[in-house]
Symmetry: none
Subunit: 216 residues, 2 copies
DNA sequence: TCGGCCGATTTACGATAATGAACGGCGCAT
DNA sequence: ATGCGCCGTTCATTATCGTAAATCGGCCGA
């Protein structure tokens, strides 16, 4: 039988070069990810010491199919991929995650020159590291939270999301009734339409990168 | 968008007394997720005001296939799902990822346990600090960039924004022809539809908080 | 040495995902 | 009205995914 040469699936029909100028990166990424799918499955299976038929039984996918996935570059339906991912105890994103599309920047903010942002909270010092709101949806600030400072008595609720990454010291968040204690290197990501509040429970100032997303 | 009355987290220990829970949730989940796939695609497409053939052209998937996916419960291969997810600016996990773990609107990431993100670039190590794209529009990662590592020869462009905050070491960005050198404490915020690339020009690894915003 | 056994692989075939090309329906401008 | 363009849908065809069953190969014990 013929081997499906990896990647070269491109049909002769070349899309009109005009149109929406398809980023060629997408096609490349897709082929790369699909190509890496078989090896990933094989690696996981062997790592767990499972034979083809053992995995077949666990996942309710035929051994032949798994074999062809691993060695012949067969591309599965999402259903069988989910079965396998499940049996291998991995999220589908493990095989397919293209989150790697993190790549490029444009408003530069030097360490010392960040605009000082006024806040209603005392004990919270913010230095903006993002562009003006009009142009961006994301806003970020380098934050320094004084010891014992907090967001106030009343929990806040407003549309959007926030993501906080603690660089130094520690912060405590209460979101939706649950309490989270963040140390250096920890992060918290939450929707701000849930009641939330924060505080610095320690005697040391805390340093964090604080990101907010404006509702659109 | 559906807001499941969730909260499953931090709830009083809710021991699953099997009760109504049929056999293994896995089989059920699979069917449920697969079943929700069509509606999700349709909803996204209409929300963006795209016709079947417009999406077809964008995603390089035939309009007929998309139609059958949306209305006839056809289950796609992972390849076509990726094409569609890509064209709709959603990660595959948006359609498929088990919401069992993702359902919560609050995501806490401890310093050591961040999911490692697969990247095509060598010398770039990412540890996700944000929730899954399905629930959030913001994504963030703690990044470690090896000495001399770079984003590759070709600059990328696509809608969205990014914000990078350097914690340690230094990074160099080239966006739209302009070069920016970032030291610890510096930040760069830019729209990703400009051609850009990055590198670590030093002999020391660099550490940064890397944020990305997905277009809606 | 010879069978059994187990693992990976291959083969043959039915099921179906994906395509390209029609087909009717609707709005809109001439 | 008439024609044009765009939309969703359906149809026939092709490509290939997935399965069951057969084949090949190594390992072990009697």
């Amino acid at each position: 039988m013929k081997e499906r040469s990896t990647g070269a699936r491109a049909r002769a029909a070349d899309p009109p070069p005009d149109s929406a100028a398809p980023p060629s990166t997408a096609e490349n990424e897709l082929g790369r990810i699909i190509g890496s799918l078989g090896p990933k499955i094989r690696e996981l299976r062997q790592q767990k010491g499972l034979s083809l038929q053992q995995l077949a039984e666990r996942s309710d996918v035929s051994a032949a199919a798994i074999h062809k996935l691993e060695r012949s570059g067969m591309v599965p339906t999402i259903a069988t991929l989910m079965k396998l991912a499940n049996a291998l105890n991995r999220p589908v994103s493990y095989f397919v995650d293209e989150e790697s599309v993190i790549d490029r920047p444009v408003v530069y903010t030097a360490a010392e020159q960040g605009r000082h942002v006024y806040t209603s909270k005392s004990g919270l010092e913010l230095r903006s590291i993002s562009g003006a709101y009009g142009r961006f949806f994301m806003a970020g600030a380098a934050a320094i939270v004084s010891p014992r400072a907090d967001s106030g008595r009343k929990a806040m609720e407003h549309p959007g999301e926030e993501l906080v990454y603690v660089v130094r010291g520690s912060l405590q968040f209460e979101v939706d009734g649950a309490t989270h204690r963040l140390e250096a290197g920890d992060a918290l990501h939450f929707r701000t339409d849930r009641p939330h509040r924060w505080c610095n429970p320690t005697a040391e100032p805390a340093e964090a990168v604080w990101m907010a997303l404006r509702p659109m």
